[in-house]
């Protein structure tokens, strides 16, 4: 149950960034800012996923090592 709550908190923190996107833009500058944000977020996804993959692999390797070295 606690794990589920933790995951929900992580998801909520991540999705918090949706609020400024959907707050509403009236001027053309604000709309252009949404496009710039979209570009910035999407182009950074590859690096973000690569870093997360590396972190997850390190955690998996550490656990595997712990299991292999257990008596």
């Amino acid at each position: 149950m606690n794990e589920l709550v933790d995951l929900l908190i992580v998801a909520a923190k991540g999705l918090f960034n949706l609020i400024p996107l959907w707050a509403g833009a009236k001027t053309q500058e604000q709309k252009d800012a949404i496009l710039a944000t979209a570009k910035q977020i999407v182009t950074s996804l590859d690096a973000y996923f690569a870093a997360a993959d590396a972190t997850d692999k390190a955690a998996k390797d550490a656990t595997q090592k712990e299991i292999d070295e257990a008596p």
Partner: protein, 240 residues
Amino acid sequence: MEAVKVFVATLIAPLPTNWPQWCGLLFFLVLHFILTRSKSVRANNLIEAFANGALAIPGVGALIKATPVVGAVMQFLDTPPTTTPPPPPVPHAAVSIPLNGPKLIPWLVFIALGLSGCADVMYRYDQTTASLGVTAKACRDVLSKANASHLHDCAARLPDKVAAQTCVDVWQSQYANLHDFCADMKLVAESALTEREIVNASVNRDKDALGWIARLLKAAADTTEEFSKAGISFSVKGMP
């Protein structure tokens, strides 16, 4: 008869204030109607894209079908024509992308049109694209958190090595599926950004010269045409 009058009045009453949303809904229904009766391979491919990709999004298909009016109309539209059966699919030379991401682009266009109706389509498209990126990041964050938590639980099963190893193996299988899901979401966001100019060109072409209904119909046709020109087609079941 009275019930019909009430039903029609309920539909028409919000029109003055909600016309953009009705415009989006009308766009979808007209597009759906045209595509389900089209004989072209490309249009049939687009239907497949909607069916396999867009409506497969958890909740979206169910939400649409659960809406009484839309559900009833879609049921009517989904009835295959009796006089003009669809032709058998023929192989085509366009590049076929066997990924879910590009298949979802037409649906993104629909979401943008459905949210904004006839105005600010590209603004809504950009919002949707950015939201997909944010959601993909959140998805990856949750996966990392779940990974750390599960591996910790597996390690806690030591000194029983077999139980710990089984726990890790089972989780890795689930992890791979979830990872694919997040990666698909990332792919959709990246595809949406890549294809933005094509969508923009289709939506804004002849903007001032046509009425809004004609403009939406033209945008739908142009978008399909532009995707085809760009070499993007949509895989059909049973075809390479």
